[in-house]
């Protein structure tokens, strides 16, 4: 009798394995459960090929349950103060330049609003603070803005600083609109006081994954990125997505920020037989890597971030920029009349061309202004307005917010041909013939 039990056990295990295999097979062929988080294509949702997770976060928006809605409106305020934090002055020329563009764009929206009567005749006043200074300065600056009685805040660009700021916003119960940070983890935090109106690096990664694997059919892609937080979290979705598509990256290389000789990394990438290379870092680093690639005879297609979509990059990379493919949040030459008017007004006012930070800050500020006009001068009510938005029509196009209040509008692919950028909005190719 005893000998029968092990046999029965083995039989049972085999049966379970067989059923499990069938179940897994059936699951991968069926339609995925509906989800909203990041508008993630089913093929690259975590563990989708293996099992349904115990719980999916962000399918519902988390409500605010505190008492802040009860706070009375200020009596006879002279102005409605709005906080603004961004890198405005500091060691990084790239960040401070974009921070200034972001401020300019936001200011244009508030100035327009003031010309249209502000908030029920009370003008808006934007108080700007620099977060590119002391370590974790954004938190301190937001506290200082809270001391000045701001109703809401806009900011910032750097992922680290914006993370610090949004946590402070949560404690202060201060609604915040992020218009410039592409750090995907920002809105993964379930803070019911913060929305992001620009697309993040996760959306950029989706667009690049689709272009590299589904559209162009590459199977051997390499990654070379900076060894910093921006590039680490900025490429994570690409790394994971490539693996989930069944084509993991052939090699991953990490350089130290400030390095100028990239040949040791490039030699390894070439030796790995890469057909395409994803580059993630600062714009001058990307331009230099491409130059060194081309001069050493490496002709792999280059995919990179939105940072490369600028005249500055074209200038730095010169002829080597040809064929580079980048992700970008919107179509800057869409012909949208409001967008064109914004460009004109911006040029006239600031004597320079608006970049994506300016345009997206303008959209985010307009969304905030409309929310304040609906809600009134109570932070929690303003929060209720901004976090109830499903979609908003901006000059960049439709801003669609998911369950984490993140803009999940599909990003654009920008390809450089003959020294010009050509844009098209990406659409995920579910089952590509190219694969």
């Amino acid at each position: 009798m005893k000998t029968r039990y092990p046999l029965l056990l083995i039989g049972a295990i085999c049966a379970i394995i067989s059923v499990r295999a069938e179940f897994a097979g059936a699951q991968t062929q069926s339609e995925p459960p509906r989800h909203t988080f990041a508008n993630t294509p089913a093929q690259i949702y975590p563990f989708f090929n293996f099992m349904e997770p115990n719980y999916r976060w962000f399918e519902e928006r988390h409500p605010y349950l505190g008492a802040a809605r009860e706070y009375p409106f200020p009596v006879n305020p002279e102005v409605v103060r709005i906080g603004f934090i961004a890198p405005l002055d500091g060691s990084s020329e790239y960040y401070s330049m974009n921070g200034q563009h972001m401020l300019n764009g936001a200011l244009m929206a508030f100035e327009e609003a003031n010309r249209a009567g502000g908030f029920r005749g009370i003008p808006f006043e934007v108080i700007a603070r620099n977060d590119l200074g002391l370590w974790g300065a954004s938190g301190n600056e937001l506290v200082s803005l809270d001391d000045m009685g701001v109703l809401a805040a806009i900011g910032s660009i750097d992922g680290n600083n914006t993370h610090v700021a949004i946590r402070v916003a949560l404690k202060l119960e201060l609604p915040m609109v992020t218009t410039g940070s592409t750090d995907p983890t920002l809105t993964d935090t379930r803070i019911p006081w913060v929305i992001r109106t620009n697309q993040d690096d996760r959306q950029f990664n989706f667009a690049l994954l689709n272009e590299a694997y589904n559209v162009r059919g590459y199977t051997r892609v390499a990654l070379l990125r900076a060894n910093n937080r921006y590039a680490r979290v900025g490429t994570r979705e690409f790394v994971d997505g490539a693996r989930r598509l069944g084509t993991p990256l052939v090699i991953r290389q990490v350089y130290l920020p400030g390095e100028r000789n990239f040949s040791p990394y490039l030699e390894k990438i070439e030796a790995a037989g890469a057909e395409a290379v994803v580059l993630w870092g600062e714009v001058d680093e990307i331009a230099e890597i491409i130059r060194q690639m081309r001069e050493s005879g490496m002709n792999q297609t280059v995919f990179t971030s939105d940072k490369a979509v600028s005249g500055h990059f074209l200038q730095l990379a010169g002829e080597h920029a040809e064929g580079v493919i980048a992700a970008y949040p919107f179509h800057p030459e869409s012909g949208n009349s409001e967008l064109e008017a914004f460009y004109r007004n911006y040029r006239e006012k600031y004597q320079t061309e608006a970049n994506s930070f300016a345009v997206q800050a303008y959209d985010g500020a307009r969304l905030l202004i409309e929310s304040i006009r609906k809600a009134g001068l109570n932070r929690a009510l303003v929060r209720d307005e901004i976090t109830s938005i499903e979609s908003y029509q901006g000059i960049t196009g439709t801003i669609r917010l998911d369950g984490s209040w993140n803009n999940v509008t599909p990003a654009f692919i920008a390809e450089i041909r003959n020294g010009r950028f050509y844009f098209h909005q990406f659409e995920w190719v579910a089952e590509s013939d190219n694969r």
Partner: protein, 401 residues
């Protein structure tokens, strides 16, 4: 949708219970647990031997079961508080220290005294508090700097005059020698004997992200709730680290319920009787050194996954959620919430798959809980609208169900 349904359910239940109370049909515990005006007792009667004398509090004391708090007293601005938004509370011998967004309030001999930046407070917005039991020094974490309040003097620490990692001080915990601090951009250990600062961030420790929210200590160890980085355990004797992360590694899912830390977005840590409790905005974790348990509002009596803070004492975990106060030993749960649409309170007791809801005549002042402190048989609760004090009125055991 879920919260609407939940609200309706609570409303209906409250209505029914209230009706039953009026008509005398309520399923109330008999004897010691009889619920009547003025007593609000429920569950097993509190044995006088189990009442803790705070003056002779034993380190390893454990409640015999999860206590049931009642007889709630509420304090608001009407009573002398400078604000109804209460961020932190600390029981300090015979006085109560209260951190509000408009200053530090101290309740002593029935009288409130308010301290503001004019008195030396680093910032009006006080968000964390602790007392060094050996020296009596009060440590005050604010939105803009840290104070040591000693002998009537507020000493200020900030990024410019000390090794404080950041001026936003989310948590401060003082043991006999060290003061442990969690800031918006790194954690600290301040040695009060030598005045030396040690900083824990992504460069000096295996901290995946440098933003810290909570910190606690126990024995030779300290634990840091690193927001986005899980929990960093630091051994104060060996200077070594250990990191606990969500095993599935993804913010958007929970792959398995009990596979480890429920999420990397941690908001607080508490250690007591060999058990580590970790709060997150995605549920609660409990770790006994061998096994992790995950608690969510969809698979346990936890009233909300959004857990602002956690404390642990006498073998019980206390969770400040945005939708009620929760207490548990890991098996039995007692949760507290104001009854919707009335001044009554609702206490829910859950043992296994059985639950009992009791309507109480007094209540915590608001369901959004920022923090709490426990000493002896009393609990003080910091809420979004007012401060509440409750006392142990019984224990949650089988007799109550």
């Amino acid at each position: 949708m879920k919260s609407t349904f939940h609200s309706k359910r609570v409303k209906v239940a409250s209505l029914l219970i209230s009706l039953m109370m009026i008509t005398g049909l309520s399923d109330l515990p008999d004897g010691s647990g009889t619920l009547h005006s003025g007593s609000e007792k429920a569950g097993t009667e509190m044995d006088s031997k189990s009442v803790i004398n705070p003056d002779s509090e034993e380190k390893d004391f454990r409640f015999p079961a999860v206590p049931i708090y009642g007889d709630w007293t509420v304090y608001t601005m009407d009573d002398g508080l400078p604000s109804n938004k209460i961020n932190a509370v600390k029981i300090d011998e015979d006085r109560i220290l209260v951190g509000t967004d408009q200053g530090l309030a101290v309740l002593e001999n029935g009288k409130w005294t308010i301290y503001t930046p004019e008195d030396g407070l680093a910032h009006r917005n006080v968000i964390s508090l602790d007392v060094n039991a050996s020296t009596g020094d009060v440590w005050i974490g604010t939105m803009s700097g840290l104070n040591r309040w000693s002998a009537g003097v507020f000493e200020r620490f900030d990024q410019f005059n000390s090794g404080l990692a950041n001026d936003v001080v989310y948590e401060v915990q003082a043991d006999e020698r060290y003061t442990w601090i969690a800031t918006a951009a790194g954690a600290n250990r301040f040695d009060t004997y030598t005045n030396q600062w040690k900083i824990f961030n992504e460069e000096t420790s295996p901290m995946h992200e440098p933003w810290t929210y909570g910190i606690t200590y126990g024995g030779e160890k300290a634990w840091i709730a690193a927001w986005g980085g899980g929990v960093v355990e630091y051994n104060n004797e060996t200077d070594q680290f250990r990191v606990y992360r969500d095993p599935d590694g993804h913010f958007q899912i929970s792959l398995f319920p009990d596979d480890g830390l429920v999420h990397d977005i941690t908001t607080g840590v508490a250690f007591d009787n060999g058990v580590l409790w970790v709060s997150t905005y995605f549920g609660l974790s409990r770790y006994n050194g061998q096994r992790w348990w995950g608690f969510f509002d969809h698979n346990s009596p936890l009233t909300s996954n959004f857990v602002n803070a956690v404390k642990a004492k006498y073998g019980i975990g206390y969770m400040a959620t945005d939708d009620g106060l929760n207490t548990s030993d890991g098996n039995v749960w007692v949760t507290y919430h104001p009854a919707e649409g009335s001044s009554l309170g609702e206490t829910r007791i859950t043992i296994g798959d059985r639950q009992r809801r009791i309507t109480t005549e007094t209540s915590i002042s608001h369901g959004f809980i920022w923090n709490m402190d426990i000493r002896g048989d009393e609990i003080w609760v910091a809420t979004s609208r007012g401060l509440s004090r409750g006392v142990v009125t019984g224990y949650a055991d089988e007799s109550i169900l």
